[in-house]
Amino acid sequence: MKLTKTLLATTALTVAAGMVSADGHMSSEMTIVSWGGAYSASQKGAYHDPYAAANGVTIINDDSSAEAVAKLRAMSEAGNITWDVVDVVAADAMRLCDEGLALEIDPDTMLADAPDGTKASEDFGDLLVSECFIPQIVYSTTFGYRTDLVGSTAPTSVCAVFDTETYPGKRSLEKRPINNMEWALLCDGVAKDAVYDVLATEEGQQQALDKLATIKDDVIWWSAGADTPQLLADGEVIMGSTYNGRLFAAIEEQKQPIGMLWDAQVFDLDGWIIPAGLSPERQARALDYIMFATDTQRLADQAQYISYGPARKSSAPLVGKHKTLGIDMAQHMPTDPNNAKNTFLYNYEFWADYRDDIDAKFQTWLAK
């Protein structure tokens, strides 16, 4: 039973791979899963609407990305996958790939070349962190602070978070070990390129937790990306971590008295996967969409709506002004040289291994 399913799936895959450019039969309807809110809106403006207009396809939006991994696994077990293209963070894409739930992608045949003929694999470069992952944006997790509540000297270093004497007041951090452990080690004197080596040891993990313990009583732990902007707006915290796009919205769109602290921002990637085991028609459609939506111009277009950096090198020069605010978007990108003076790259392999172990320790530490 299982064997036949696998065989069928593999056959279908091979067949479909050969069919992409043939443009034989593609389904006329597709379900695209993403995060909802402003982010989905930016994708609609930059990708969905132009694609649907050009191809006469009906696109159904589903805001389930937060539970995408679990839901895809459940769908796959039930043998009924209803999603065609799914927007996930790179770590989730990697897990889906490991679980055999996502289609493997060959960037050079399945993705568009850059306008100057550069192959996709080179254009995306090392952002192709998993065989199944098609990068879309670079976002960062970084800190925002209340300009009116941090005193006369605005923080310039991420270690201000751990400095409760200069910056008394509550800060908000995400209720998970990822990023927090790295920042703690960085501010405890560990060199940037040694962070993950240290964190791989019991002592290093303890060191990070001990550093976090110095501010534990001053932390409000968040679990949704919207929490920190809200906490900042309410004056519940004086600084807090969240995604840079959220802070952009709070500062530029809602005109809140919030400042960006780009120091030691953690780069992360968000992008697409195509579920494994789709019917040939649906898979052809999904691949066709991906080819369109991740080309150089389209990725640059998305930056008109939201302050996340396009994942292709070739897109960067094309980033223009915000669609409604009319401000120049390049300076708000996490990848802008002014913002990216000190950045930190999230280590996917490390967290895939250590996530459960460190999370258990982190939660135990939290509950203490």
């Binding site: 696998t6 937060a66 539970e67 991994v69 679990a70 696994r73 897990r95 790939c97 490991d98 679980e99 055999g100 493997e104 509550k170 209720k175 303890q206 409000i220 732990w221 679990s223 309410d234 004056g235 519940e236 392999e349 490390f350 895939a352 291994d353 250590y354 996530r355 459960d356 172990d357 999370d359 258990a360 320790k361 939660q363 135990t364 530490w365 939290l366 509950a367």
Partner: protein, 423 residues
Amino acid sequence: MSDSTANGLVLAADGTPLKRSLSRSMRRQKMRAFMLVAPLLIFVLLTFIYPIGVMLSRSVQNDIVPETLPETVRVLGAWDSSSGDLPNEVVYAAFMRDMSVAIKAKKHTRLGSRLNYEKTGFSSMFRQSGRKMKKLDPVVDAPFKDKLIKIHKGWGDIETWKTLQTYSGLYTSGYFLNSVDARMTPEGMAWQPEDKQILLKLFGRTLVMSLIITGSCILLGYPIAWLLSNVSPRSANLLLILVLLPFWTSLLVRTSAWKVMLQQNGVINEVLVWIGLVPDGERLILINNQFGTIVAMTHILLPFMILPMYSVMQTIPPVYLRAAKSMGATNWTAFWRVYFPQSIPGIGAGSILVFILSIGYYITPEIVGGTKGVFISNRIAYHISSSLNWGLAAALGTILLIVVLALYWAYDRIVGIDNVKLG
């Protein structure tokens, strides 16, 4: 109608034995009754019993290991892990053959994720090894021991093979041990290191806080239910709508509203500071702790307490109170000795509902619970949707189910389940 024959068998009018005749006529009735419940029965079986059964079975299933590495598991059985030596080439060769099949079917990374729950590092080890082992031929390139150790040093670590051996069975008790802060090691059962012992604590906290929430629901709900059952039907309807109002707003909205109320710059603190009860520098911490969880969940679950109480209290005629007073009882005695005991079935039903609902809650504790107000369900949710460790989630869920059934049984023994009235 019926008559007795010589052997004493009672016959129906047509001569068939009465018993058979009766059972035939009853059978039709039973069939009809069964047909009436059949749609619901099938629905419940398919959408409730079956999924729960599947979920529970995950808590012991381990077939991914013997199915992905069938040969390895077989030959590894002969290896003496206590010898201190690595397995011999036979094991490595079998492993190579199993892996080359698994890599083709893209199943090796899945196994890596599974085993990573038991030993950190397996995930990347399988992923990285897979890429390199793809290039080896399971026959031509023998022997493999040194080649594999060169590919990833983990294959030269005796702990790797011990873990594989420990988790080679079709079934495992590992998930259940994990859910009570223990684990299965090659040497047998052991407690988790202290810095990872959290689940028992969360179970305890979930039970204690659910009891507190149930208690506050009783205290707050009882007077309302009493009022509801003693005012005119018109006012009762209006009050009932107010009681049900929370049901008409989304759970997230209600919980977020509590955030606005309780946070340090929230409505309550602002009012307290404005009145002068609390100095500005010492605003009360009302949220992101156990207090916040208790307040928000009491509010959300209150209707589940009030409604059964109300439906029971409605059936208690006010004449009992009059009778008690006519016999010389004060208002309090009449209430406590006569009214209250009769309202216990409502309290019981409400408490069971609220308690069971609250031990399974996770959204509200997640939002307002901070670090000390989260429940075991938050960990279950984490393992279902983030860590994908469904086996552990299933084991935790099973334990929760058993705890609920045990409490239900205890309630039946102490109070009596027929003392529960939902209406």
